[in-house]
């Protein structure tokens, strides 16, 4: 396959849709104007487990402007769908508190909200269990973990190696539930034209949302069109269809109107996904000079009663450090909780918090600098599989980061002070797989000589539209101004979701191939070409492909109040070719900022008696605010890896959040001498640390 000649690629091209976003012209899902419209509002279950015995909607229906109240007793029957979360109103069972049990459609949003408040749901309540613990009697081994990794791996003899090890680390780390909390809440605008359904939906992949929607309503995919031109963030939670999409289509069908159905921020804490809490036991064995001889990583997580989601938290441990003895496992328990799902770097994010904390503890135990310890245990083949890496620049990232951060000047002694502030610094590694999925794209030349490229990709804030335009422009050999890339529409050529950090690799390869084909076609007098990357992906060598990185944090801890401030963050990444240095930097910073939230602020608090996430709004679930982010620096190592894809990219959307929390937790330990093995690190345990 031909290399893409570089001009626009690597250039700091500003976001194509920037002007639309800063002027308010960019329309997100329910901001489209479909003419006469009605408004939906969702009613949620108020018990964690039970069976609905009756729904009294009389008062709701009597409200002026209310058109219909929908629930399992009067809802249209759906075809069977694989995701039970989408089987809305099909049965009276309640599987978790906050599950959708009814919906209202009305002339205006005020009436819809009020009517929803007045729907009386009677439920025969059953005892519930929402508590994750590592000794839960109903833990089980899932057949595979997300997306299709083995649940367990076992290489060598971990027990014997641990027994022989000169130094061992054995600690349990835990992370709470986290909610994605994209700024744009999930939302759907649905409209029927006869037996054709159009939805404007806030999602990470129009094509991936069309299939289940069509299936649920017994339609052919061609009868359904899903549009998502602008999407206000997703971070994984909009990667799979959420039930409001089904509800909106139902309400639109029953009311005969276009229906806008926005999910409220509070509702997002129930049925639009979240990161499972984890309990992770890490055991490391090493020689006295810091060579790792054994690693065991055992993960305990929850899923819901109606859908299995198994977060692959131990998988990064299969990739990171060289050892002959390596065992990983995942155990799940089905609880009466909302269904967990993808959140930025599922698996790597919580898993690397545990591994990189344990590595820090090992470094202290053997008295070796934590960077040196990581370098000493760098792997030249993927530890679990034995596959060679296409490229691996972890060590380069660590060294580059150490230089930029001034690590050489770091005094390893803990509890150093600047007045009442403790100051400390920490380091952790990052990793994320370099995936590529097949996709299709079309390219055509317009009568005016400009080009138009189409692919059902998504730009949820990643800069995908801009990156794909750069790739197309370079392939066609024209300036970016002469290329328009259409995305966010299921009517465009098939493409996978914006997920797994594989957008640019997957879509970019299809775009480049289509543009290449167009050039050939134009030589033959044609004006349009289509490409599919399936064959070239199947022909790829069997290699381990991963991006790596190193993150550094400096924290200040008030020894009296326990307040923690992250005074510096630095991330250095080796993630293949960087298509756009401006948007890439923003992506890395964004991931690291979310990692800071994970470390210090964010936590979805479950009240076990009620069974739902209690702090279900942005005043109580604290994401980082502007004042929390003082100084974040990002750099990357140039990588020229020909074994990735025709663009040479590894993906950048998720690796930024991987390792941040461990770097900060390690820095807090360096600052205070206190090791926190449960996130988030609130000030509670640090008050008075200086006295």
């Amino acid at each position: 396959m031909a290399e893409v000649a570089t001009r626009a690629i690597g250039a700091p091209v500003r976001r194509i849709e920037g002007r639309a976003k800063v002027t308010g012209a960019a329309r997100y899902a329910v901001e489209h104007d479909p003419g006469e419209v009605a408004y939906g509002w969702i009613v949620q279950a108020q018990v964690a487990r039970g069976k609905i015995t009756d729904i009294d909607d009389a008062e709701a229906r009597s409200q002026p402007g209310v058109l219909h109240v929908l629930w399992h007793g009067n809802a249209p029957r759906l075809e069977e769908v694989s995701d039970a979360e989408l089987a809305v109103f099909q049965e009276p069972r309640v599987a978790y508190r906050g599950q959708i049990v009814a919906a209202v459609v009305a002339d205006n949003p005020e009436a819809a909200r009020e009517a929803a408040r007045l729907v009386r749901v009677k439920v025969h309540e059953e005892p519930h269990d929402v508590g994750l613990r590592a000794d839960h009697p109903h833990l089980y081994k899932p057949d595979k973990v997300n997306p299709s990794f083995p649940s367990d791996t076992d290489k060598g003899d971990v027990d014997a190696a641990l027994a022989r090890a000169e130094v061992t680390i054995d600690h349990t780390y835990s992370t709470p539930a986290y909610h994605n909390n994209a700024m744009e809440p999930h939302a759907t605008l649905a409209r029927w034209d006869g037996d054709r359904l159009t939805v404007y939906d806030s999602n990470q992949g129009a094509a991936a949302h069309r299939a289940p929607l069509a299936k649920a309503f017994g339609l052919e995919p061609e009868q359904v069109r899903v549009l998502a031109e602008h999407v206000g963030g997703g971070f994984g939670s909009k990667g799979t269809p959420r039930p409001q999409m089904i509800v909106a289509a139902m309400l639109a069908r029953i009311s005969g109107r276009a229906v806008k159905l926005p999910v409220t921020r509070q509702q997002m804490f129930a049925f639009t996904g979240y990161r499972t809490p984890t309990i992770q036991r890490m055991r490391l064995g090493a020689t006295g000079d810091g060579r790792i001889t054994a690693i065991e990583h055992r993960v305990f997580e929850q899923t819901s009663q109606i859908r299995e989601f198994a977060e692959q938290a131990a998988t990064p441990t299969r990739v990171m450090y060289a050892t002959d003895n390596l065992r990983t496992s995942h155990r799940l328990v089905r609880l009466d909780v909302p269904t967990p799902s993808w959140m930025r770097a599922p698996g790597e994010c919580p898993g690397m918090y545990a591994l990189e904390s344990a590595i820090d503890e090992l470094a202290l135990a053997v008295g070796i600098d934590p960077i040196e310890l990581r370098i000493r245990n760098d792997a030249d083949a993927e530890p679990d599989s034995g596959k060679p890496f296409s490229s691996r620049n972890l060590v380069a990232c660590l060294r580059e980061g150490a230089d930029r951060f001034g690590w050489a000047d770091r005094d390893p002694r803990q509890r150093q002070r600047d007045g009442r502030w403790f100051i400390g610094s920490g380091v952790a590694a990052s990793t994320y797989p370099a995936y590529q999925r097949d996709a299709e794209a079309t390219a055509r030349v317009q009568p005016d000589g400009s080009f138009r490229v189409g692919i059902a990709a998504a730009d949820i804030g990643t800069g995908a539209r801009t990156a794909l335009t750069q790739i197309a422009a370079d392939t066609l050999g024209v300036p970016v101004e002469r290329v328009r890339v259409d995305i966010g529409d299921s009517a465009l050529p098939r493409a996978g979701v914006a997920g797994g950090s594989m957008g640019t690799s997957s879509w970019g390869a299809a775009v480049a191939k289509a543009c290449e084909a167009l050039l050939a076609e134009m030589e033959r007098g044609g004006s349009e070409a289509h490409a599919d990357t399936k064959a070239e992906i199947e022909a790829k060598k069997d290699l381990a492909r991963h991006a790596f990185g190193a993150q550094f944090a400096e924290v200040r801890v008030d020894g009296e109040t326990g307040e923690i401030r992250v005074s510096r963050l630095l991330g250095v990444f080796a993630a293949g070719r960087i298509v756009n240095p401006v948007t890439a930097r923003s992506q890395f910073i964004g991931g690291m900022t979310m990692g800071m939230g994970m470390a210090l602020f964010e936590e979805s608090v479950m009240d076990r008696r009620y069974g739902d996430y209690l702090n279900h709004d942005l005043a109580q679930y604290h994401v980082p605010a502007n004042a929390d982010v003082a100084d974040i620096e990002v750099a990357w190592i140039e990588e020229d890896d020909p074994e990735l894809n025709r663009i040479g990219t590894k993906g950048i959307g998720e690796i930024g959040i991987v390792g941040t929390a461990a770097a900060i937790a390690n820095a807090v330990h360096h600052a205070t001498g206190l090791r926190f093995r449960a996130l988030p690190i609130h000030l509670d345990g640090l008050v008075g640390a200086g006295t």
Binding site: E114, R117, E560, D607, A619, P624, D628, V687, T691
Partner: protein, 328 residues
Amino acid sequence: MKPFAYERADETARAVSTVAGSHGHATFLGGGTNLVDLMKLGVATPERLVDVTRLPHAEITETKYGGLLIGAAVRNSDLAVHPLVRERYPVLSEAILAGASGQIRNMATIGGNLLQRTRCPYFQDVSKACNKRAPGSGCPARHGEHRELAIIGHSEHCVATHPSDMAVALAALGAEVHVHGGQGLWSIPLTDLHRLPGEMPQRDTILAPEDLITHVELPPLPLARNSRYRKVRDRASFAFALVSLAAAVEVDGGNVADCRIAFGGIAHKPWRARKAEETLRGRPATPDAFGAAADAELADARPLRDNGFKLLLARNLFVRVLTDLVDG
């Protein structure tokens, strides 16, 4: 949101009588930043809103005694940046600016700020029990999630905290609240406005529904020129206090001549630290003395299972702020 009628009041007495005659169905609307929020949640369900923001209570004037008379309809941000407040009562300016966000401070009124409701998660969720919202339904916070809630003055019926920052500064400054109520005009010290929950947590204050706060008056207080507000929270900004402290102190010859101190975030009301103040007057202005004074104030604290950290935090914050004030 329950349907409601709206009227814009142009006369205080009429506004008061409208609410008085509504049998509890009408309520005053200020900036709306908390009331509209609670109406959307179904926590507040008024049938009539009487908008009092255009009443003639929107001025800040100097009193003949050298204090300040602050109209209840003054917006928080205007009070925070008022030159006389910055000069004479910096603690008040700092407290207001530590609260909410710039946008909300531009909307919220002084009266509304004082009357905002607790941010206890159970109170804000109508699907759960709460004695403050639904008397007799129970207090799930007491044995549930209460990390951010009260450590002192709570009852078995309620462990909520008062969320205002401004009120903490006003409590320290000895502000007086002027009320135009069903019974005419009257006033009370701000420290007596808010209640402890006791057996009636549904009542945040001593006000009847028709009692309208018209003004807040600050006494002349020279020592307040040396005053400060410090707020500790879970992120650096835009979050409610875990613990906050408002303090003003005057030192004479190394001893505390006089002081005014109040805590926020630890109780159902702004917590004026009178015991600490008494302990300190005439004593050396040293960290040890400050610590002893804080201990005296907090001796009655009864932290809940998960908020014991607030006790040491309150003490340390007390010592820190007083020490900083003394050191200048």
